[in-house]
């Protein structure tokens, strides 16, 4: 019981710290930087959850954003349609949103995550038997199917997107919510990797034949990894929908999923801290570039901004190619960044090639 007491205390401290961070950021940061922090948090959730599938389990999903969009739509239906029916319209931010709405919002996020996980189960069960490169195409196809199915649903906005969603994630609340989920994602996936279940996933990545000979139910574990990854991506979608006030079918597209794939590959497949680092770098960098553009003469700004937009994917692509050619294991490989590891590096190494 002591363990749970400690953990309860930890949770309370975390909530307090997040609230403090949020308040400080709201009061002292420019809105662009506040938004940047929220966006980094979102990409951390997406990259770490995709890392569970692509990095730790060694599968290759190109459809992560499909789960994101599904979760976003599902959560939006719960807040905007069901919530509206039950409690009337959400008051505008200026009128003040009563607390119970936030509880409802939290529930909608969970629901979005569960919907994504269930779809992950439905897609994963038949397709995860396939070899890696086929899986890539099937998950890509899944993204396009989700995209087109949503486009044909007029009741949730069709091709134009589901708009006018309540803004639960905004300065004053955004950092709290996003980082609460980000911490939960990182902890959950780190915990998995430290147990026999995580080792089963890594065994699948290393050698499927040996893994099943050792008693690992390969299909079951692949599906589980797929579902857990989808769950967190779905929650990220719910957060995003209520940050932007709109979610569109294009958010499911595999073109967007590639951004997350780049983050996982850059950080190092299998390294959770690597994914966090890469998500932060790749989200912040374009923002700082845009910032730098602001210092150009006014008449050049518009063109420069467009160029950054256009160049972003070109740079991602080059990054991906050069990375695979030069350092396929990514920045950190499968290693984790931690104080202990940093300190240990100073000492002479006992074994010629220690792992872990």
């Amino acid at each position: 019981m002591v363990v749970w007491l400690k953990r309860g205390l930890g949770l309370a401290l975390l909530l307090l710290a997040l609230w403090g961070m949020d308040t400080a950021a709201t009061n002292y940061l420019e809105p662009t930087y506040y938004t940047l922090l929220v966006n980094i948090g979102r990409f951390v959730i997406l990259a770490v959850s995709l890392n569970l599938i692509n990095g730790i389990t060694g599968q290759f999903s190109l459809g992560h954003m499909a789960f994101f969009a599904l979760g976003g739509y599902a959560a939006a239906v719960v807040t905007k349609m069901v919530g509206h029916r039950l409690f009337g319209p959400v008051p505008s931010v200026s009128e003040g949103i009563p607390a119970f709405w936030y509880a409802w919002f939290a529930g909608s996020l969970l629901f979005g995550g569960l919907v994504a996980a269930v779809v992950g189960l439905a897609v994963g069960l038949p397709t995860l038997r396939l070899r890696g490169d086929y899986l890539a195409i099937v998950t890509l196809g899944m993204g396009e199917i989700v995209n087109i199915v949503i486009q044909n649903q007029e009741w949730i906005g069709g091709a134009l997107g589901f708009a006018d969603l309540p803004l639960f994630v905004r300065p004053g609340t955004g950092i709290f919510w996003i980082y609460l989920v980000a911490v939960a994602t990182v902890l959950a996936i780190r915990n998995i990797t430290q147990t026999t279940h995580g080792r089963a996933l890594m065994a699948i990545r290393e050698d499927e034949v040996a893994a099943q000979a050792m008693g690992v139910n390969v299909v079951r574990y692949k599906v589980l990894a797929f579902m857990v990854g989808a769950f967190f991506a779905g929650i990220a979608g719910g957060l995003y929908a209520h940050q932007q006030g709109i979610i569109t079918p294009r958010d499911a597209s595999f073109v967007r999923s590639i951004e997350i794939v780049v983050m996982v590959a850059l950080g190092g497949s299998g390294s959770i801290t690597g994914s966090i680092l890469a998500a932060a770098i790749l989200t912040a960098l374009p923002e700082f570039l845009r910032e730098a553009v602001g210092r150009l003469p006014y008449e050049q700004q518009e063109g420069a901004r467009q160029l950054i937009e256009q160049l972003q994917m070109v740079i991602y692509a080059l990054l991906l190619i050069v990375l695979m050619l030069v350092r396929p294991q990514g920045l950190l490989g499968a290693r984790e960044l931690s104080l202990r590891n940093l300190l240990r590096r100073r000492k002479p190494r006992s074994a010629p090639e220690p792992s872990g």
Binding site: V3, A188, N191, I192, Q194, T195, T196, H197, G198, R199, A200, M202, A203, E206, D207, V209, A210, A211, Q212, A213, M214, G215, V216, N217, V218, L224, V228, A334, A351, P352, E353, P354, S355, G356
Partner: protein
């Protein structure tokens, strides 16, 4: 009663009958050899027993229970473990983690428990680690516990594979050419190790081996496979003098 029984086990790939009506049994605690020229179907027999392939005909029983057609992970859970002819370690995992994966099948906590690192899950992990380290001690790999498995010397990799297989707590151990690529000293040590494993872990052993010195040295009974059929069974000295075996191996020293 026989521990493992193959009853007319057969598998066909397209038109090719790779294993044809093989009858084979391993009694509890026995050390049995499976030999034959290249391409005779020895590894295919292992793949049938461990569920990599389902037999086209015939029956495979383990401790009286039919197991043919079960998936590999179920068969591992029932108590059959194996090594591979061309080493299949989890290359970039640590030596300890390789053995810990072997313990996976004996763990009881669920993924959800793992997610929250509950007491059940932590207890499981402690037990897995302790048992795995004990195994590393038996196999004299305890100092290398944190090495990448792929960076171990060849002979150590072969031993690690056996340790990993034993971590699943099998009652039957299938070894696929454990002596391949080892030097004479290592061979002697390996033979002693296999004998020791059998008594210390209480397993029966079925062994594929090309090295006649090893097979004749430790096996109590030997099956000879040629073109997917059993052509001879018997004690090592019987097999050594069997004309059919000599014919099958013509040109190879028996």
């Amino acid at each position: 009663m026989a521990h493992l029984e193959l009853d007319k086990a057969t598998i066909r790939f397209g038109g090719l009958t790779a294993v044809s009506e093989v009858d084979l049994e391993v009694r509890p605690g026995e050390l049995v050899g499976l030999i034959g020229p290249n391409g005779a179907g020895k590894t295919t027999v292992f793949n049938l027993i461990t569920g990599v392939y389902a037999p086209s005909a015939g029956e495979i029983r383990f401790e009286g229970r039919p197991i043919q057609g079960l998936p590999p992970h179920r068969i591992a859970a029932l108590g059959i473990a194996r090594t591979f002819q061309n080493i299949h370690l989890f290359q970039s995992l640590s030596v300890l983690d390789n053995v810990r994966v072997g313990r996976h099948v004996r763990a009881r906590s669920s993924l959800l428990q793992g997610l929250f690192l509950t007491r059940g899950s932590l207890g499981d992990e402690a037990e897995i680690e302790a048992a795995s380290r004990r195994l590393l001690n038996v196999f004299a790999l305890e100092d290398e516990w944190n090495w990448r498995a792929g960076s171990l010397p060849y002979g150590d990799q072969r031993r690690l594979e056996i340790a990993r297989a034993l971590a699943t707590e099998p009652r039957l151990l299938l070894l696929d050419e454990p002596a391949a690529g080892t030097n004479p000293q290592e061979k002697d040590a390996l033979m002693q190790l296999i004998r020791r494993v059998r008594t210390e872990f209480g397993v029966s052993v079925l062994l594929i081996e090309h090295d006649m010195q090893v097979v004749m040295g430790i096996c109590e009974r030997i099956y000879v496979l040629d073109y997917g059929k059993v052509i001879a069974v018997g004690r090592p000295e019987e097999i050594r003098n069997d004309p059919r075996v000599i014919e099958a191996y013509l040109g190879e020293a028996v």
